[in-house]
């Protein structure tokens, strides 16, 4: 009798996973249909955050390349000046 009761309780357990529920990996990303996300509405605009992130990366990388190029040119000019002095011109 107690075995049957336990079996009934297990069958009625609300915490038990539904048969058709999709398996979810808590440690990974789960993809979803884009139209569903759009319907939810957003309090924090994600597009601005993504734009800000990519914009910062672009400005930082381009700025760095320009900075190294400028330093290289300045050194090249200084070397040319010194070379002229060395040549006695």
């Amino acid at each position: 009798m107690s075995f049957l009761l336990a079996l009934l309780l297990l069958a009625a357990d609300p915490a038990a996973p539904a048969k058709d529920a999709p398996a979810k990996d808590n440690e990974g990303f789960e993809k979803v249909d884009g139209s569903m996300m759009a319907k939810r509405g957003e309090f924090i605009p994600a597009d601005r955050l993504v734009g800000g992130a990519y914009g910062f990366i672009l400005v930082a990388l381009v700025g760095y390349v320009v900075s190294v190029d400028r330093r290289n040119r300045r050194l090249a000019n200084e070397m040319a000046d010194l070379q002229r002095k060395l040549d006695g011109k």
């Binding site: 789960e30 994600a46 390349v65």
Partner: protein
């Protein structure tokens, strides 16, 4: 700037600025975070390259402390400067992602705190190198090694401690439609890292040549 480097930069810019955004936009949205998860495709490869830059700098540091080879010093300086650049990108893009995903820009989480610590160590190395006087090279080398010791801690922090940051296993679980833009960006940033390393090392080489030339001019003027 040498022509080969200019050409390489143009190809990488086309790959990262032309193709990558299209692949990233075409990738599916993530269920819990939505559009903001797109930051992942640049944020994670930049973090990997920050670690690579710190390891390159640490290799140069050990080489410098052991052999006092000027090439080691070039590698050290180039690695540290690129680590500061890429690290800044990681530390800016991460909080922008967190604002949406966690509701706050910053948490004093182990992963975030140790990453900030690494960036500050790299920044300190650059300042020491610039203003540290005669012992600057060795002090910079010491700091670079200290920074490299922090990298495994950053990587493993999400597995050891309970943190809010996604785990390293996220990359392994990516589906093919998310993996393609991620791999594209990862290879793009690897190529960018190598080209920037070469560019920055050539600058240090030119600086050493300038110093030699300045000494030669001094000698020449004294003789005259």
């Amino acid at each position: 700037m040498p022509r080969a480097i200019r050409l390489s930069l143009a190809v990488i810019a086309a790959a990262l600025l032309g193709s990558a955004p299209l692949l990233i936009l075409a990738a599916p949205l993530e269920s819990s975070m939505g559009f903001v998860q797109k930051i992942f495709y640049f944020h994670v490869p930049l973090a990997f390259m920050t670690f690579a830059a710190v390891f390159v700098a640490a290799f140069g540091a050990v080489w410098w402390l052991w052999k006092r080879d000027p090439r080691a010093d070039r590698l050290l300086v180039a690695g540290i400067e690129i680590a500061v650049l890429f690290g800044a990108c990681v530390l800016v893009t991460g909080p922008l992602w967190a604002r949406k995903a966690w509701g706050v820009y910053w948490q004093w989480d182990v992963r975030l705190t140790t990453t900030l610590l690494l960036w500050l160590v790299c920044l300190a190395s650059l300042f020491v190198r610039r203003y540290g006087g005669p012992a600057a090279r060795s002090l910079t080398a010491g700091l670079a090694i200290f920074g490299a010791a922090d990298v495994p801690l950053i990587y493993l922090s999400v597995s050891i401690w309970r943190t809010i940051h996604p785990k390293t296993t996220v990359v392994k679980t990516l589906g093919p439609d998310m993996m393609l833009p991620f791999a594209w960006c990862a290879f793009g940033f690897l190529a960018l890292f190598l080209v920037l390393l070469e560019l920055r090392m050539s600058l240090e080489k030119a600086r050493a040549q300038l110093d030699e030339l300045a000494l030669a001019v001094e000698d020449h003027l004294e003789d005259a």
